[in-house]
Symmetry: C2
């Protein structure tokens, strides 16, 4: 029972179909905003909890800052505001009142407020009060929050006007320490993406012209979606003293001299969920990696006659108690009994479309045999008949295998589809100018990444725009070899990743 729209037929429509059939999110009457439904939000909560532990292990603490930022804060930060001014929600009034027979905004504010698109400016203001001496540094803060960017072409999870994210903000006594922090957090993002989301990424640095507004350096992780486009999955910014200077985060250093602090910021958002969908989902619907699945094992009772219920439910309840002693990935297992008044076959297909890793079907015959039927999301259409003991002794390994398989499958696909044989601007244009090759399961698809040389000049951005591609990053594993810039044909040594992107 595959989805109405197949991935190979119409990729964007397939994506919408997966989100909707998995019941993860929906468009809202609030223009450009989304409702994140329980299955989608449960995935986000899992990502949050796993990342929170990484943040704690690297000595960061959570805090919460106001979402309204006075407009004057942006007026001080020319480069920063330039990057966000075109997509800001502005609060101008503080009440409603009846006017001309209808409720209208009233109580104009003296100073308009911006709903945070990101919090560097307002957090820097707090840091300026918290930091006096080098002994107060580093300050290592993370915030989980909603943010707003007035997107004109919204798309569930990938681009909505309001979205959820985490934003780390830190201040340090030296540039070296701040740079090390920036890279440490990029590594946390790589780990999150590859180990928790099973989504392989390329790590690198953004070209100068594509940095975060106000940053000295922007590092990123880039993932490859199943249509060969790139998704920026997380960014980590070394801000130098730029924000410290405009917010006056200054401290007395060890030499007893005043100095501006060195700050960083880094963030990932609910966009990651869009990345997970486009990395793992298939024509049967969503596939959720076990580490971030709200439920890893779903139990569907198969009850044809009412008199079976007591017996079957007692057996299932005992099984759940036994299952709950299991700890896949060293964590408590997450098990759900689906007791709804629906046909068991309909429930099975719902959980398939939602991408729950393992579904167990249990009816009166299974109770008699002390067994169950197991279905694995990666092998839709197949089933295994197991004894209870076989399940209990293998369930951790089964979940861990699914997680590993998902990563390996995605990694193989990415590696296969990074072209490094394109050497000249002519070949490059020919490649991105037409429908491009994309290899999976021996079939040819649409487009892939190209790894090749770049001369490092901002002027080449025009050529990228013309071809509707971008430099995703300058990957960390630079070869240093000489070659020709794929855009200009000039001599170049920098390796770049070129791709279409979301």
């Amino acid at each position: 029972m595959t989805l109405k729209t197949k991935r190979a037929e119409n990729y964007p429509a397939w994506y919408q179909c997966v989100v909707s059939e998995a019941d993860m999110a929906e468009n809202s009457v609030s223009p450009g905003c989304m409702v994140i439904k329980p299955w989608g939000y449960g995935i986000w909560e899992r990502i949050r909890d796993l990342m929170d532990e990484e943040f704690r292990n690297t000595d960061h603490e959570n805090a919460y800052f106001p979402m309204f930022i006075p407009i004057s804060f942006f007026r001080k930060e020319a480069e920063h505001v330039e990057g966000f001014a075109k997509e800001m929600a502005v609060v101008t009034h503080s009440r409603l009142a009846q006017k001309d027979g209808t409720l209208q905004p009233d109580g104009a504010l003296e100073e308009p407020l911006i709903v945070r698109p990101t919090s560097e400016t307002i957090i820097a203001d707090s840091f300026s009060k918290w930091v006096q001496s080098y002994r107060d540094l580093p300050v290592l803060i993370n915030q989980w929050a909603n943010v707003v960017r007035w997107e004109m072409r919204p798309r569930l999870f990938l681009r909505t006007r309001e979205f959820l994210w985490q934003e780390g903000h830190t201040a340090h006594a030296s540039a070296e320490e701040a740079e090390a922090e920036t890279k440490q957090m990029l590594e946390v993002y790589r780990k999150t993406s590859e180990e928790f989301l099973a989504m392989p990424v390329i790590q690198g640095i953004k070209p100068e012209y594509d940095k975060f507004p106000g940053a000295v350096d922007t590092y990123c992780i880039e993932a490859m979606m199943q249509d060969g486009k790139a998704l920026q999955a997380g960014t980590s910014h070394f801000l130098g003293q730029n924000f410290a200077r405009s917010a006056n985060i200054s401290f007395i250093n060890k030499e007893n001299k005043p100095e501006f602090a060195y700050t960083t910021s880094w963030g990932v958002s609910t966009r990651l969920i869009g990345g997970v969908i486009m990395t793992h989902a298939d024509d049967e619907g969503m596939v959720v990696p076990p580490r971030i699945a709200p439920y890893q094992v779903v139990i569907v009772p198969v009850l044809k006659k009412a008199e079976d219920e007591e017996n079957v439910m007692a057996y299932i309840n005992t099984l759940v108690r036994e299952l709950k002693t299991k700890t896949p990935f060293g964590e408590k297992i997450r098990v759900k009994i689906d007791k709804r008044l629906k046909q068991s076959v309909d429930k099975f297909w719902e959980w398939t479309r939602k991408g729950a890793p393992l579904v167990l079907e249990i009816g009166p015959r299974d109770v008699q045999n002390n067994g169950l039927v197991l279905k694995n999301r990666l092998n839709v259409g197949q089933k295994e008949v197991l004894s209870k003991e076989e399940l209990l002794s293998s369930v951790e390994k089964r979940l861990e295998n699914i997680q590993r398989h998902l990563f390996e499958r995605a990694k193989a696909r990415m590696d296969l589809n990074i072209r490094s044989d394109i050497q000249t601007p002519e070949e490059f244009r020919a490649y991105f100018g037409k429908a491009n090759e994309w290899i999976e399961d021996g079939k040819v698809g649409k487009v892939a990444f190209v790894r090749g040389k770049w001369n490092g000049k901002a002027e080449t951005e025009e050529i990228l725009k013309e071809l509707k591609i971008s430099i995703r990053c300058l990957p960390f594993d630079q070869t240093g070899t000489k070659g020709k810039c794929l855009l200009s044909g000039e001599d170049a040594t920098i390796d770049a990743i070129y791709a279409r992107s979301y």
Copy 2:
């Protein structure tokens, strides 16, 4: 080393002093908003996690809805908007642009958006799409989110323009089921307050004129602060079919007829943290109940000479590993080693002002003796010298004792200060008209609760306003006896709780 401002001297100044010295929150440059600092936010995260488990155990699921609500949604709900119109943040523009040489709001929206003061209207819109048949009911949703109410006299945690909360929203097939849900969630709030926050409460129903705007019935829990004022700590609303009718949440019932659903909503906010402060803090600073303490045990290394460090830290690290096998309240213990470059005595006082339940001081001599010095937040100035084994075998019990003691102390204080001997309007006026009695530790304080009769008539609200008090609730444990209304002197049977309030 007590606080600059004592509780008995100036209660409001003492409150600010506790919040600031415990480093829990601060006022922001964003007018009327607060910065929740790591220690305050950590307490909120603990409350969130504990409540989340209660919500899950009662079959609720978390989801997330847009924070921007089109103004037209409020225009449909006359009674609801009436209650919130005077304190709404209104978004009217979607970008900034240079005008007259400075950045100004630009791109006026066709329809202004309200930043949610509460989400009944927008969530009801989603429910109307999710619900078709009685088989789709109940819908049991919770949201953790920020909300905005344009308070004119903000106060940290108690009243800020933006605050954090959870809001439950449910839809049911019958009024009875929805009413049962409303009461069930009030019981979750009672449990949260009494068992997790150690804050005793009175449960009851609000008078008709003080209900949530748009509700049929509003239930509440009310707590007594250390100045004798009441704090509304949580509310649970039975909304009848009011919101279902205006949002068209209709379903085909078992009799195959269309019917509007019955909805509920219920919420608690970061205001609870204000309640915890005013229930437990003292002249030494904050006191955090162990169940919601970000750290339950803080270890302060006492290092006079650099050469002791390795030895002492090795001992502490072993101790932490052993401590982490302990499970007070059936949960993982939360332990922190304070390694900062500060004097150990300063660290001790910091943790005292933050209200960490247990502090362990460990120096070279303790390492030699295989022991430690334990300090309990409830006995500032005292210390116990323990062997490591004595600590390990008693730490769970010690934390559980602190939790119980805090609740019992607060409960005794509340019970002592509910006056039920005031029988006539004259006595009542005399009581609330002057500085009133308040009993603690044998000393007479300012004001208390009065439990007495009320005639149930809305007109009596004028007398309450004049005396600057309110009816906090009509408690669940009604006696049904006859008496005189304390406001009007008329015959009355309803029991009410009268008090000053936050």
